[in-house]
Symmetry: C2
Subunit: 221 residues, 2 copies
DNA sequence: GTGTATATCTCGGGG
DNA sequence: CCCCGAGGTATACAC
């Protein structure tokens, strides 16, 4: 990894055109060839960047970075204050405990926490608009599509509406109804869901893990 | 900006739990207090980060970063290879020429490229769900809502559907129909649009700029 | 502050 | 390869 602290100006043209006026910034060049320009604020987003694969051409006082997609980043240096190279070597990946994936897994094992008597037909039931997170059946025999989200927002209601539209074209499944399951549901999403006849259920993640624990204990005393 | 190259391991707990095993990485601390951990690949995303405002506690061999939201980042150092501080000063902001904004401007000047005889009623016509990009009228007098996107995707169709729902509650405007204008429209968006009676028009950005040139020449010979 | 739309989003998975 | 969905998304903007 090469770290350059320099007074520079930057031009990017590609998916849009952007210009950074002359100022002191950090220019990073990583082992995979990608380039990022950072200011002294903001942890996440670089001001400008070019992702690998790309080509870095070092000219007199400027760097030209180009990629196969025709994007172009030009860094013009006025004064280089520091320029260092560091060998980092390969790094093991990040391990995450995702929330939505686990929520879906837990709800698949215990759909009845959403509504009494609910039983699972299938996880990731495919439609031509995408997979339904959980396809269930209620005690009355009606099909229930469940969309699992960490946060229940308007987009989740729209997504579930589209799925229901498709499911209800299948006479075997129709009439299907929907449940939006989330740790929290915004008032707007709740309103829209109500207007569409969709039920919202707020799920407590920790209780859900508890339910799993209890269910396991039933079978492994 | 402080740049530390070090063998370290990282724990994050907050919106989820994540762990980075021991390896050599870059740890950046910026002037606003935010912290980012980068590996030697990927221009854009840090492996871990904490955005400002937060608090950095330097202990023996480790840093603990906490924020008011209760998130927590722990960097445990095994070996520090480099540690440097750089004064960057304030930087002027990034200027951008967006694509969607200009497309909207060009189409407002020449709505007839979307459909023969279309004329502009208003740009950014306000509804209580947000502004309609272009409100137009066709030669038959029907109101046409136009949603402008760089890429036409399902979200754009949903957005336009919600706007139409609102417009059609106004007896003065009803019955309104919709056009999704984009440089490219995905097949799924096209399918959904068809099912909703929404027209998709693919707009060639360069031709559009040409149309503007022609229109200007008509009035400035 | 909340909610919504956007992003040079990035990133990964599935057809 | 494209399309789609998720993200500790971040970020800007309106209410």
């Amino acid at each position: 990894m090469r770290l350059v602290i320099a007074r520079c100006e930057v031009e990017y043209t590609g998916r849009l055109s952007a210009h950074l006026p002359m100022a002191t910034r950090l220019v990073m060049v990583k082992a995979d060839g990608c380039v990022a320009v950072h200011s002294d604020e903001g942890a996440y987003k670089p001001l400008n960047w070019m992702s690998a694969p790309n080509h870095l051409e070092e000219r007199e006082g400027e760097w030209l970075v180009t990629n196969p997609a025709g994007e172009r980043l030009l860094v013009r240096f006025e004064e280089v204050l520091s320029d260092s190279e560091h060998a980092l070597g390969v790094a093991p990946g990040l391990t995450k405990d995702g929330v939505e994936a686990e929520m879906q897994r837990l709800l698949a094992e215990a759909p009845f926490v959403l509504e009494e008597g609910l039983s699972l037909l299938r996880r990731e039931y495919p439609t031509d608009l995408g997979p339904v997170d959980l396809l269930c059946r209620d005690p009355a025999g009606q099909v229930v599509a469940v969309e699992v989200k960490r946060r229940g927002e308007i987009g989740g209601v729209e997504q579930l509406t589209r799925y229901l539209e498709r499911l209800n074209r299948d006479p075997v499944l129709a009439p299907a109804r929907g449940i939006l399951a989330a740790q929290a549901v915004t008032p707007q999403a709740r309103t829209l869901a109500a207007a569409r006849g969709i039920t919202c259920v707020e799920v407590d993640y920790d209780s859900l893990r508890g339910v799993e624990g209890n269910a396991l204990r039933l079978f492994t005393p």
